[in-house]
């Protein structure tokens, strides 16, 4: 009795191995899944959150939407953002007019971002800065190719990066 059972068990066991081999064989013949990375890329990077970057104004792409209010720095859980604002240089022609008119324009001195330093190595990509931004001045970049030889390179000057990109766009 137990001999028969043993033989049956062995036979079904061997059969299970054959089934597995057949599946492997079938998959061997199926098309390749690999993305040949540097030459070819995944197509869904736009939904990925890389490190944050400044958003340009729609009508003037060399200026950013950021007003340097510092909400992002306050809401960041790991404190990786240092932001400073500065006053936008006003067009000089309007200035005397504005000061002549009492209580109108001078109070509305436009501010913009002075410096925006992101210590990327502390960031957890949670997105609280982007959500807390009152002027929609931040977004996630798709820069996922980031690797560096020194730790200092993890600190990114976003204003400098923004200006570089704006200049690049202008040139192109």
């Amino acid at each position: 009795m137990s001999l028969v059972k043993n033989i049956c068990d062995t036979a079904s066991g061997l059969y299970s191995l054959l089934v597995g081999l057949a599946i492997t064989g079938k998959n061997f013949a199926s098309p390749q899944l690999t993305i040949h990375y540097p030459r070819q890329e995944v197509t869904n990077l736009d939904t990925y959150r890389g490190h944050i970057e400044l958003v340009p104004l729609e009508d003037n792409p060399i200026l950013s939407c950021c007003v340097g209010c510092g909400m992002c720095a306050k809401s960041c859980p790991s404190g990786c953002i240092t932001v400073e604002s500065k006053e936008l240089p006003k067009p000089p022609a309007i200035e005397p007019l504005a000061s002549a008119e009492p209580g109108a324009k001078p109070a509305k001195a436009k501010r913009t971002v002075g410096s925006f330093i992101l210590n990327y190595s502390l960031c957890s990509l949670c997105g609280q800065c982007v959500r807390s931004c009152p002027s929609d001045g931040l977004r996630f970049s798709t820069n996922v190719y980031f690797a560096a030889r020194t730790r200092a390179e993890m600190t990114i000057d976003l204003v400098e990066r923004f200006n570089r990109q704006a200049a690049g766009k202008k040139g192109a």
Binding site: S16, L17, I23, Y48, P77, G127, Q128
Partner: protein, 389 residues
């Protein structure tokens, strides 16, 4: 290794834990350190073993190699700022922890969650559960010596990660929930993609069964190994598939229904064999049950806001405490929050299912072969950062 039969902790060789462990009567046994860097411990778990030949006499897991101070951070950060941590407690089923924390604070602060958000939470959480089970499947078979299945598992995992990336923006450590809802709405691409995924996953499951589950070698490595009876599960507080593999149909989604889980029709898979194979089968069945929930949730997905517009930006619950538990891929996740009425929690306690599930390993592995202990360890489905927190 020092073999002196002495009780003096100070004269034995090895580090602190080895010395404490070895300080028993041992004449011709061997003290073996497995980990903290060992491929089958899934991270940095360390187990000190006392071996008699190939047999384990005693085992003692040593924890803390990836202790990341999560509970301390909870007391230092504002309620909303603690969310990113939740994605990193259990990185394989991050959304369950997201949910447990969001649920606890929402209950404490009385924040309502709109129906669409509840459904989106269910959908994303179940996707994440499948993703987690797939990785466990691949890694477990890898522990048992077969490399190929993990390659198959990652094909489906990549699909899920791509889909979840559409709404959450990340691949692994999601920070998708927020108080009163979720942070982004489902796009048509996500919904269509999920429907397509359900279909493809359904067709893949029989293949997994033929490739691995029915396999003779796997059955020999899993059957009648690591038998956990009900009393043992109760003494150690085991939950999740480890418990259901012992025949108890206890699932927080059904047991203590949170969100909208009582609106779905799904079974709680159990296995009566109580062994590693039982836990294996429970997890494989859970994948198909999750697919069922996903399908229903997509069909019933209501319109409306995905986040409560009245949810406060700065959460400041009244003084009090709450304990909220959800079912993760590994068991019952509990978040206990004490509020003193300020903007930071007074105390956050994270109840990790793996912590309890691993604690029964010492009893479970005594008297087994070392190779079987690896199989038992894998069948518990451990995520070490969740244990160490």
């Amino acid at each position: 290794m020092n073999q002196t039969a002495t009780n003096d902790v100070d004269v034995l060789a090895g580090d602190y834990y080895t010395r404490h462990f070895a300080a028993g009567p041992n004449d011709d046994t061997l003290i073996l350190n497995m980990g903290p860097q060992h491929p089958s411990t899934h991270g940095v778990l360390r187990i000190v073993l006392e071996m008699d030949g190939e047999y384990i006499l005693r085992a003692e897991p040593v924890l803390g190699y990836i202790h990341r101070m999560q509970e301390k951070m909870g007391e230092n950060r504002a309620y909303l700022q603690y969310f990113p941590n939740m994605g990193r407690v259990d990185y394989l089923h991050a959304l369950a922890w997201n949910w447990a924390y969001a649920g606890a604070v929402e209950r404490l602060a009385g924040i309502e969650v709109p129906p669409r958000a509840e459904y989106l939470r269910v959908i994303s959480c179940e996707m994440n559960r499948i993703c987690s089970h797939l990785l466990w499947w691949g890694a477990y078979i890898l522990d048992l010596g077969a490399f190929t299945p993990i390659l198959y598992a990652f094909v489906d995992r990549e699909e899920i990660m791509d889909l979840l990336q559409i709404i959450t923006g990340s691949r692994l450590t999601y920070c998708y929930f927020t108080f009163g809802g979720v942070t982004a709405d489902a796009t048509p691409a996500f919904i269509d993609g999920t429907r397509a995924f359900i279909k493809s996953m359904r067709s893949r499951l029989p293949m997994f069964k033929g490739l691995v589950t029915d396999n003779l070698i796997l059955r020999k490595r899993c059957e009648e190994i690591g038998v956990i009876d009900l009393d043992m599960a109760r003494r150690y507080g085991a939950t999740g598939p480890v418990l259901r593999g012992s025949g108890v149909a206890c699932d927080t989604r059904r047991h203590e229904p949170y969100s909208c889980y009582n609106e779905f029709d799904f079974a709680i898979p159990t296995a009566s064999t109580c062994d590693a194979m039982g836990r294996y089968l429970v997890r494989m069945d859970e994948i198909s049950e999750s697919l069922k929930i996903l399908e229903q949730a997509l069909d019933m997905l209501p319109d409306g806001p995905f986040v409560n517009p009245k949810a406060p930006r700065k959460v400041k619950p009244a003084a009090g405490e709450t304990y909220f538990s959800v079912e993760s891929a590994r068991g019952k996740v509990g978040v206990y929050v004490q509020s003193d009425g300020s903007t930071t929690p007074y105390r956050v306690k994270l109840r990790a299912p793996c912590f309890s599930n691993l604690s029964l390993f010492a009893e479970l592995s005594a008297g087994t072969l070392l190779a079987d202990a690896v199989s038992i360890l894998g069948s518990l489905d451990l995520v070490i950062p969740e244990i160490d927190r």
